[in-house]
């Protein structure tokens, strides 16, 4: 059901006297329900889905083969050694955790900021968060060497009568990432229950009735339930907001709390968080452009949604560029010889190629988004966002590798290169990510239908005197006007 026939409606014009309409085209509650549910109800997904699924599940298989090989043979199959004892595993971990951040930003922070446009993309982005965190979680667990003892990281009473060291950022990481994964999943599920009930009520086969029936927990849209649901959602958003900021801050503590030049800087937490949001949005755009195309969601995920995300990419990309330059400035201004060496070595040493790849992809590429043409043309934004993803991976490569490979004693300097196992494990993690993602597109409601309906003019928000205590959807729009502009 590749719905390419749906034309693109341009709703990106800015007129301060009018509110933009987020769901474009001739849509009402019935058509939104139909459009979103049809994706999971059609007997067969588009052919592109099958091709993508075959590739991604093959890569997932490769990931597990590589992990089995690593565990069977030992950590020596990777390229890590002294002085570079953190290689691809930590780079990939930070890369994937960072990608996850856009989902929580969209679902929680934009929710608290009353950004209505989040409703069309939040389910999608939250799913991406969970799958990215699943990929991220694999790497620290396997890089510890004896992966079968990973549970020692948790404080549980044991026969050794020992406890983990709570003053280590590595343990903070265990708590931060596991809390983040748990809360993200609960947030996602709680928000999805009403939509699972929609799928249940539309189900034609016994299997679907039972599966969605159980997953929906018997949700029946009772307003007494909605009332608590809205409160719970608001509280979860309030909890997830500091949480998402804390997670990448704690990840940055893994580096910043050490005494290594290039890592030991106070700029790391905000710089990591901005970079995480930057990379996460780039991944959302990369995935949602083909998804809205193939699954006929162009009217629900409109050009204006894409443009807004590209604006966030431009802002956060510029913050990241600012952080790069401030790091250099402080390395010089701080007057520490080791610190300035670390940074000159970063930009002009053996890994200069990685550094300048990072700068071009992360700082230069998003500058294209100053031009509206680039912000609203799907193929251009996908290319820019792929560059951003490459650049953000290289950012973590630069941080991890260049700070380690030349330490205080020149006699111990080295050059890190990954092995084929490193590379295939990394590629395999993309396989896992895309496999989970494709399954999500096929079997779960890809758009938060219930939330989208609340921002449609038909939701009756014009009855201004009836605003309830749980009302958080912002100003009441003046409905009944076509508030978008059509091309041609």
């Amino acid at each position: 059901m590749s719905n390419t026939a749906i034309r693109e409606i341009d709703n990106t014009a800015n007129d301060p006297s009018r509110r933009p309409l987020w769901i474009v085209g001739e849509n009402d509650f019935t058509s939104v329900t139909e459009t979103v549910c049809r994706i999971t109800e059609q007997p067969k997904p588009p052919r592109a889905w099958y091709i993508a699924f075959a590739i991604s599940s093959a890569l997932t298989g490769m990931l597990f083969v590589m992990i089995a090989y690593l565990i069977a043979v030992g950590i020596g199959v990777w390229g890590v050694n002294i002085p570079v004892s953190w290689g691809f595993a930590i780079i990939n971990f930070v890369f994937w955790v960072g990608i996850g951040h856009a989902g929580t930003l969209i679902s929680a922070i934009l929710f608290l900021l009353r950004q209505k446009w989040r409703t069309s993309i939040n389910r999608f982005a939250e799913a991406m968060t969970i799958f990215a965190v699943a990929c991220a979680g694999i790497f620290p667990a396997i890089h510890i060497g004896r992966a079968w003892l990973a549970y020692w990281l948790f404080p549980y009473p044991n026969q050794m009568a020992m406890w983990p060291n709570f003053r280590s950022p590595l343990l903070w990481d265990v708590f931060a990432v596991s809390t983040y994964a748990t809360v993200s999943m609960m947030f996602w599920y709680v928000g999805m229950i009403p939509d699972l009930a929609t799928l249940r009520d539309r189900a034609k086969t016994r299997v679907r009735q039972i599966a969605y029936g159980i997953a929906a927990l018997g949700w029946r849209g009772s307003h007494r339930h909605w009332h608590r649901h809205e409160y719970a959602y608001l509280i979860l958003a309030g909890l997830a907001t500091p949480l998402v900021v804390s997670v990448h801050s704690v990840v940055s503590f893994d580096f910043a709390v050490s005494l290594l030049p290039g890592w030991h800087t106070t700029i790391f937490p905000p710089y990591f968080v901005a970079g995480a949001i930057f990379s996460g949005f780039a991944m959302v755009v990369t995935l949602i452009v083909p998804a809205r195309q193939y699954f006929g969601l162009k009217e629900i995920v409109s050009l204006r949604h894409l443009e807004n995300m590209n604006k966030i990419i431009l802002v956060t990309g510029t913050i990241v560029g600012y952080a790069y330059s401030i790091e250099f400035f402080i390395a010089w201004y701080g007057g520490n010889a080791y610190e300035s060496f670390a940074f000159i070595n970063r930009a002009f040493g053996p890994y200069a190629w990685a550094y300048w790849t990072m700068v071009s992809c992360n700082v230069l590429a998003p500058q294209l988004f100053w031009f509206k043409k680039c912000r609203v043309t799907p193929w251009i934004m996908v290319i820019v966002c792929i560059f951003v993803n490459i650049g953000m991976w290289f950012e973590r490569f630069v941080i991890v590798i260049t700070s380690l490979h030349r330490d205080f004693l020149p006699s111990s300097w080295g050059y890190y290169a990954p092995t084929w196992v490193d590379v295939l494990t990394f590629i395999g993690s993309f396989g896992l990510f895309f496999t989970l993602f494709l399954l999500f597109c096929r079997y779960l409601p890809m758009v938060a239908m219930a939330e989208v309906k609340t921002v449609m003019p038909q939701a009756g928000l014009e009855h201004g005197h009836h605003r309830g205590v749980g009302d958080y959807h912002g100003e009441i729009p003046h409905a009944h006007e076509p508030e978008y502009w059509e091309k041609g």
Partner: protein, 192 residues
């Protein structure tokens, strides 16, 4: 718009005699449901509910729903998490197995903040979700309203008011005419 007849639901054949659960009225407009709910509340009904595909704003007031206790439960959980996170670190690293690292103090709050924060958030969030399920009485896979065919659209594009038969004011005829007079597109009996 208005329907004068009470349609019996299209139920499958059943063996035991059905008892009436209540009356169900269907509306097609989000604005109408708010005004109708207000009328039902003003008529004095107490055992009734509104079912909508999304949270319709204004219904809280129209139905007279008092704010939920949920935030207070979460506050309690959050404070417990805070104490638990702090206590865990203090007991494990300062009392039960004192770890002396680089000559730093055995117990120092700044190093313990991240884990305290995470445990607080984790316990609050888990409590939010389970308190939500508990207060809403979910999971509950069977409910009489599910026997009604029209009700399938309660999660898609229709709005319903259900007045239960065990409401003290319930009277098959009067309640039905009230619901019809509110502009319901259909009024049906829900059996249990």
């Amino acid at each position: 718009m208005m329907s004068e007849t009470v349609n019996m639901p299209m139920n499958k054949e059943r063996t035991e005699p059905a008892t009436v659960y209540g009356l169900l009225a269907e509306f097609s407009d989000a604005g109408a449901i708010v005004q109708s709910a207000e009328q039902v509340r003003k008529a004095g009904y107490t055992r009734w509910d509104v079912h909508t595909p999304f949270p319709v704003h204004g219904l809280d007031e129209a139905m007279g729903i008092r704010p939920t206790i949920l935030p207070w439960i979460v506050l309690g959980a959050g404070l417990s998490g805070l104490v638990a996170g702090l206590g865990l670190q203090w007991w494990t690293n300062a009392v039960d197995y004192p770890l002396l690292i680089s000559g730093k103090p055995i117990f120092s709050l700044p190093a313990n903040i991240p884990v305290i924060f995470e445990v607080t958030v984790l316990l609050s969030a888990v409590t939010t979700v389970f308190a939500l399920f508990g207060l809403n009485g979910l999971p509950r896979l069977y409910h009489p309203v599910f026997t009604n065919q029209r009700f399938r659209r309660a999660t898609a594009d229709r709005f319903f008011i259900v007045i239960e038969a065990n409401d003290p004011l319930f009277d098959a005829e009067k309640t039905q005419s009230l619901l019809s007079s509110l502009g319901a597109t259909a009024v049906e009996v829900v059996e249990d």
